[in-house]
Each structure stands twice: as C-alpha cells, then as structure tokens.
C-alpha cells in the first residue's frame, strides 16, 4: 500500500462512478421495457400466464435467488476487504462470486433443458402452435431470463477481469473505483432477478 506515486494519470473518482450509473440506467430501461411488455401481456392473457407460471420450478428459481443475493453480498464485502488491504480475502470473495455465477448458469441450463424436453424451444414450430397466451408467456420467459443470463455471464467476466487487475496491482485499496463499478454492474444483475423471480415463478 506504499506506492501512492504516479499522479500523472488523471483519475476522477466521482465521474467514473457517475458514468457507471448512467450506463446502468440504460440497463434499467432495457429490462424496464421487457417488464412493461410482460405486464401488458399478462393483463391480456391472465389465464395463460397463471398456467405458465405453474410449470416453472420454484425450487430452482428460489435457489438461484439465494445464489445471486449471496454473490451480491460477496462483491460488496470484497470492496471492504480491498480497502482494508485484505487482498487475499478480497480475491477469495470475488472468486466465490464468479463461482455463484457459474452455479446460477448451471441451474439455468437444467431448467431450460427441462423445457426443451417438453418441446418448448424458442423459435420452434411447437412454440408457435401453442395457444397465443402460452406462446407469449414462454417467449417472454426465454427472452427475459435469457437476456438476464447473458448479463450474468458478462458480469462474471468483468469480475474475473477485475481480479486480474487487483493481482497486477492496478486496482488497489487506494484506487478501487473499478471494483466498485464492476460491483454496481453485478448488483444490477441481482436487482433484475429480484423482480424476475416473483413475476415468473411466484405469481401463479
């Protein structure tokens, strides 16, 4: 923690964070649009959404909720660890977060595979021939959890990258905004799931 030199690089802590938040707003609007679509189709096809929700596995959905919230905790803890100079602990917490992301995606794979087994494959003939409400429900289910899954993969990749930066000493206890911003992204991924879980799995 001794080298606080090299002040030639211009760094603006608050601007970095503000930029990240601005980016997160575009993410909120992206998912917000899909939630809007969900809400209006749900108003149009209440019965199909009710039946569709029942076919989703609340256990796996709940498990994934616990996994994501826990991974959000470990990211938040890692910032504290880094600022206190506990580098090894910080890296362990981040590695745990990435492991949680992996667990989440494995569960998602199991879930989607089960749906594929029943012929529910996005873009398939079978899905197109379902009653309109059902095909809309499963269409939204795949689109929204799929887009969210992509965000999980991106978030985990960003965290891996920050782990490398910490290892190289480019992100430190004094200059940690990169970790904070990666954390913000990860929390948004968690935030989206906090709404996806009740809307798809619980309201039935």
């Amino acid at each position: 923690m001794a080298e606080v030199a090299a002040p030639l690089v211009h760094k603006d802590y608050h601007a970095s964070k503000m930029g990240m938040w601005l980016f997160l707003f575009t993410e909120i609007l992206l998912f917000g649009g899909l939630f809007l679509l969900y809400a209006s189709y749900r108003a149009k096809f209440p019965q199909a959404f009710h039946e569709g929700g029942k076919t989703l596995d609340v256990f796996i959905g709940g498990l994934n909720t616990v996994v994501l919230i826990t991974s959000s905790l470990t990211v938040a803890l890692s910032i504290t660890a880094l600022r206190r100079g506990a580098l090894v602990f910080c890296q362990c917490l981040l590695a745990f977060t990435v492991a949680c992301a992996g667990t989440f995606m494995v569960n998602k794979f199991i879930e989607w595979s089960a749906k594929f087994h029943h012929g529910l494959i996005p873009g398939s003939e079978h899905m197109a021939q379902l009653p309109q409400g059902q095909s809309v429900f499963y269409g939204l289910y795949f689109a929204m959890t799929g887009l969210h899954g992509i965000h999980v993969i991106i978030g985990a990749s960003v965290i891996l990258w920050v782990m490398l930066l910490i290892k190289q000493g480019k992100v430190t206890g004094e200059d940690y905004v990169v970790l904070e911003n990666a954390g913000l992204y990860w929390h948004i991924v968690d935030l989206v799931w906090i709404y996806l879980f009740p809307l798809f799995y619980l309201i039935s």
């Binding site: 608050h14 938040w21 707003f25 809400a39 209006s40 108003a43 904070e180 309201i203 039935s204």
Partner: protein
C-alpha cells in the same frame, strides 16, 4: 469471515485523501446483516406465494421485491452514501421508468 477484520470496526474517516470519499468502507458485519434481511424477505415472498390471496399475491410479491431492491440499491450499491447528484440521477431514472409503465397502463388498463 470475522478473522480478517484486521482494521478497526469504526467507519472512521482515516482515509482523508482517498478521492474525496466521505465514508470508510461498510463493515463486513453490516453488509452481512443486509444479506440476512434479503434472505428473510426471499423466504417471506416464497411462503406468501403458497397462500391464495387473489390480487394481493401480486401486490405482496412486488412490494417485497421492491423492499429487496431498495436494500440492494441503498446499501450494496452504496447509494445512501453517494452525493446528491447521483441520488438525483437515480431518482430521475426510476421516475421516468414509473411514468413509462404508468402511462402504458392508462392505455392497457382500458383496452382489454
């Protein structure tokens, strides 16, 4: 988790030079408490969904989700400790989202 708490628990301002930050890092203990709250809320929302309350099921599920979202935003995402500019920006973004959803429902609600 407690063994690595090598520094003092006080969220003191001993990092006066660190980028104009006003606060020290949040303690491990505090963050873990927020996590525990989120876990309890998750259990509540799953439990309530097993009971048929009609329309209230939707209201409770979204209400609990919003409390969870607030915990994540204010503490995990540190918003409570940010300056008023970022707070105002986040508020604006969510108000715009609420307007978009609200106005759409003025339409959708009367259509079907």
């Amino acid at each position: 988790m407690t063994d690595t708490r090598e520094t003092t628990q006080a969220t003191g301002q001993d990092h006066g030079h660190d980028h104009g930050q006003d606060h020290g890092p949040l303690s491990y203990r505090f963050l873990t408490l927020i996590w525990a709250g989120l876990m309890v809320l998750t259990a509540i929302t799953v439990a309530v969904s097993k009971v048929d309350l009609g329309f209230m099921n939707v209201a409770v599920a979204l209400g609990v989700a919003s409390i969870k979202a607030s915990l994540v935003i204010f503490f995990f995402m540190h918003l409570k400790y940010e300056n008023w500019i970022i707070k105002g920006m986040v508020l604006t973004a969510f108000v715009i989202l609420a307007i978009a959803i609200g106005l759409t429902f003025v339409d959708v609600g009367y259509r079907y």
